[in-house]
């Protein structure tokens, strides 16, 4: 079995582009998912029972079906409801919606974990809803939700590989294509695995760093 790394090195512009697409979709998708998820969590917490039930059903569907099926629905089913998307936007939307469902659950449990006493104290002192959220809820939640959020970020990064199936030109698609065309499957697959692994390890390490730096908001020994 020969292993010729030069085949890949020769293709570095394409590989770089693929990696770029992966990272771009990952970062944008995760941020969008976190924002949408947070808004959903707030809506479910303070929006009344009807909103809570409806969003609850949406979240259950998004968490109960495979990501691939959701992507197929958005990309192939979209045109039938007037939504004609190119692969990259479809991928971004897919990641954002899928991630939002999970982030909303993370934030919801974060909300509930902050002791009611702290909130009531804030209300007694006369803080507005917005001030309570900003100065009590969020800081205390941060430590609690940070590990699951980092975890979710890693999961979303790995899900971007699935987007290759709807022809998004991200890294898995790019390296597989190079592997096919240059008959260098071994090199391409190995490089692919290595890239993701390194990225995940780095993300985990950054997450740990964030946890230690933000530990001043810890209010009990979790």
């Amino acid at each position: 079995m020969t292993f010729d790394i030069n085949v890949l090195i020769g293709q570095w512009p394409a590989i770089l582009s693929g990696a770029g697409v992966t990272i771009m979709i990952w970062i944008l998708g995760t941020i969008a998912a976190a924002v949408i998820g947070f808004l959903m969590a707030v809506a479910r917490q303070y929006g009344g029972m009807v909103v809570d039930k409806i969003l609850g059903a949406v979240v259950a569907v998004l968490r109960g079906t495979p990501f691939l099926i959701q992507i197929f629905l958005v990309y192939y089913g979209g045109p039938f409801v007037g939504l004609e998307l190119d692969p990259v936007p479809a991928g971004l939307i897919g990641i954002s919606i899928y991630g939002a469902a999970y982030f909303s659950e993370i934030f919801r449990s974060g909300f509930r974990a902050v002791p009611k006493g702290h909130i009531e104290a804030g209300e007694c002192v006369g803080l507005t809803r917005g001030q309570i959220i900003r100065r009590i809820l969020l800081p205390e939640m941060t430590m609690l939700v940070l590990p699951p959020c980092v975890n979710m970020t890693v999961i979303l990064m790995k899900e971007t590989a699935v987007l290759s199936i709807i022809t998004v030109p991200e890294l898995t698609a790019t390296l597989s294509a190079i592997g096919s065309q240059q008959y260098a499957f071994v090199e391409a697959l190995s490089a692919l695995a290595l890239f993701y692994w390194v990225l995940v390890e780095v993300t985990g390490w950054l997450g740990n760093l964030a946890e230690t730096k933000l530990s001043r908001f810890r209010f009990f020994n979790a």
């Binding site: 045109p79 039938f80 022809t167 597989s176 294509a177 592997g179 096919s180 008959y183 499957f185």
Partner: protein, 275 residues
Amino acid sequence: MRKNSLLRGLVGAALLFGATISAHAADTLAAVKAAGTLKVGTETAFAPFDFIDAGKHVGLNVDLFDEIGKELGVKIEWVTLPWDGVFPALEAGKFDVVAGPATITKKRMERYRFTPPLAEATIAILKKAGDKTINKPEDIAGKKIGVGKATAQLDQLKEFSETLPTKADIREYPAFTESYADLAAGRIAGVANSLPNIAFVAKQREGTFEVVLPPFGKKSYFGFIGLKDADHAPLMDAIDAAMLKIKADGRMATLQKKWFGASFDTPDAVKDPAF
């Protein structure tokens, strides 16, 4: 105690692996005959050669390999993979031969061995019925054209696109099936694929699609693919002989008429592909 059960676990796992490793016979033909089964890898998304019709695997490949199986005295076992995974899997030994079929090209011939051709593969454009903007192949300039990933059709389309005043916007699909669906939905203006394929699809979906003539690719043929090494030579020789026999006694022509509406005159072997 923990170390013991660790060791036992490892031995058990090793035995399990050993049981599933396929025996590496020196002669693939002998191995196939001994097992009574010929494993064929394919994509099942390449109508009319190989496709799924309401859950059933049908097509020219299925019928033709049934005949080849009869000649060799073995059953056929199909393995379905995405097209860009088929060649790595062939090299990894997951099956004995690839259906597809694949276009016979110089580059592929360097690495693989082709059977006698079974149909012409010259490529043309499929468009939405009633689309007046595309009347000849050159009209695809600047338009969105779909094609399958890792196919020879993709290479030919790219080459043709370079000769046009404005390049075509080439969309790669995991399989042609998805490109036809997008064409029907109006997301792309055309699909570039071999004439027998798009002629079949146009007929299957009367009124949805139309073929744009003339074909613009260089003349090419489809064949089945196998590995080039000495181990596989007896098997490939046997398949070659079976196919030539099927051609000689007219079964090939019957199948071609069944799936294409007409029979093709193909050479017995392609030694010097056009590209």
